[in-house]
């Protein structure tokens, strides 16, 4: 009799706790210390299901800016001086570790060189007019891109030519390839926004 009750209690224990599981995270391989060396901006037309490089004009509702970040990756630990670090590779950064540069501020500015609308005159930041999507570049872009900026607010003037500039500011304490407080910039090719 007691044995039966013991069996039942064991079953009850299993019944109550069988659903519990340990969700163990994947091991994270640190990419090392990533230093931004230069950037490139590209104009894309994303009206279809693939990115097409824009030659001269594009519908603003399909306009996407592609960002390529050229980086040097150094071996960790990052506390060592730049001279003592081992350079692992120089490459275009993939999206997986695009949110971290050891030598720049975490924020950047996307600046219009043309009057965009009444709130965004030439020379002002248009970060709020674009949405950044690293996954879009990974899923759709044929060329190697680090991230993309998709236009979500559109300029009021039609048939106007626009250029955009991205600006990263170098941090004073880490600067192997750039001087402190220097900027790392790139300008997009001129593109005309044409509403269909």
């Amino acid at each position: 009799m007691k044995k039966h009750i013991l069996y039942l209690l064991v079953l009850l224990y299993y019944f109550l706790f069988v659903n519990m599981s340990c969700g163990c995270g994947d091991d994270y391989n640190s990419p090392g210390a990533v230093e931004l060396t230069s950037v490139e901006l590209l104009n894309y037309d994303f009206s279809g299901t693939e990115f097409k490089v824009v030659d001269s004009e594009v519908n603003p509702k399909a306009y996407v800016i592609g960002l390529r970040c050229f980086v040097n990756t150094y071996e960790l630990p990052s506390s060592l001086d730049w001279e003592q670090r081992v350079l692992l590779e120089s490459a275009v950064l993939s999206k997986t570790n695009s949110n971290f540069f050891i030598n720049t501020n975490s924020t950047f500015d996307l600046i219009t060189d043309t009057d965009f609308d009444s709130e965004h005159p030439a020379g002002s930041s248009v970060n709020d007019c674009f949405v950044e999507s690293a996954s879009l570049s990974h899923d759709f872009a044929a060329g190697q891109l680090t991230s993309t900026f998709v236009m979500r607010k559109y300029p009021t003037t039609n048939n106007q030519v626009y250029t955009f500039r991205i600006v990263y500011r170098v941090k004073a304490e880490y600067s192997a390839t750039h001087n402190p407080n220097e900027t790392i910039e790139a300008i997009s090719k001129p593109v005309k926004f044409v509403q269909p």
Partner: protein
């Protein structure tokens, strides 16, 4: 009325009469083919919900005292909840919406096969050559969240949309265990020295509601642009046929 009284007398006589059956068996291990019908207390926002789901029921009965038995059953289902056909609640596949499905990013995960576990008590009665065991227990139905998502590209613009459908325990967000009560009756007839033929009638009422959710989201900022939501309580009714070893 007389007929019912006669039947009642026969039933009582059957239950109380001495029988040649062995009343001191330790219990039973059995396996049955289960035919499960799924029902909900109100209309769920599913276009083609699964209503019939076959499965295998494994049971272990252990005698605790006299004719009182503790039972434990595991039911594994062959079917899936088949939410695949539910897509297009937002008209996303209609040509006038100008949305192109991006198949490479589509994720269908309707393969989850619910299984359930039951634990409880039953009392065995004897009715001539038959044994009857009404049972009362707790039920745990593991739904394993069933979801599907699809990525749509709006032609002519850079807009991308995620359409996500989920069928899960309400408010659980990934932990899809439904808790409920089980009422069951098992009738058995001896077919050889150790083997019994079992017929089961099982009803489960889930206290945890199930919810059907549909979301039409912006791909870039994940804002929910359109949403559907319905919830209901799940009932299951099943008939099982199998054999037991005692």
């Amino acid at each position: 009325m007389k007929r019912y009284i006669c039947l009642l007398i026969i039933l009582i006589a059957g239950l109380t009469s001495a029988s040649a059956q062995d009343r001191k068996t330790w219990g039973e291990i059995g396996v049955s083919f289960d035919n499960q019908l799924l029902m909900t207390s109100s209309h769920l926002n599913l276009v083609h919900p699964t209503q019939y789901m076959p499965g295998i029921r494994v049971n272990l009965d252990v005698r605790l005292y006299e004719q009182w038995f503790g039972f434990y059953t595991l039911v594994g289902s062959f079917g899936s909840l088949k939410l695949k056909n539910d897509i297009n609640h937002f008209g996303e596949l209609n040509p006038e919406q100008n949305l192109i499905p991006i198949n490479s990013s589509a994720v269908f995960s309707d393969e989850s096969r619910p299984f359930s576990m039951n634990l409880g008590l039953g009392h065995r009665f004897f009715l001539k050559d038959w044994q009857l065991m009404p049972m009362l227990g707790l039920s745990m139905i593991e739904l394993s969240q069933t979801s599907q998502s699809m990525l749509f590209k709006e032609s002519g613009t850079s807009n991308l949309y995620n359409v996500i459908y989920r069928f899960e325990a309400e408010g659980k967000d990934g932990l899809d265990t439904l808790y409920g009560i089980l009422l069951s009756v098992k009738s058995s007839k001896q077919i050889s020295r150790r083997y019994w033929l079992n017929f089961g009638l099982n009803y489960t009422y889930s206290f945890t509601p199930v919810a059907s959710t549909g979301e039409f989201r912006d791909y870039y900022d994940r804002r929910v642009l359109k949403q559907t939501y319905t919830s209901a309580r799940l009932h299951t009714f099943s008939l099982s046929v199998g054999v037991g070893f005692r």
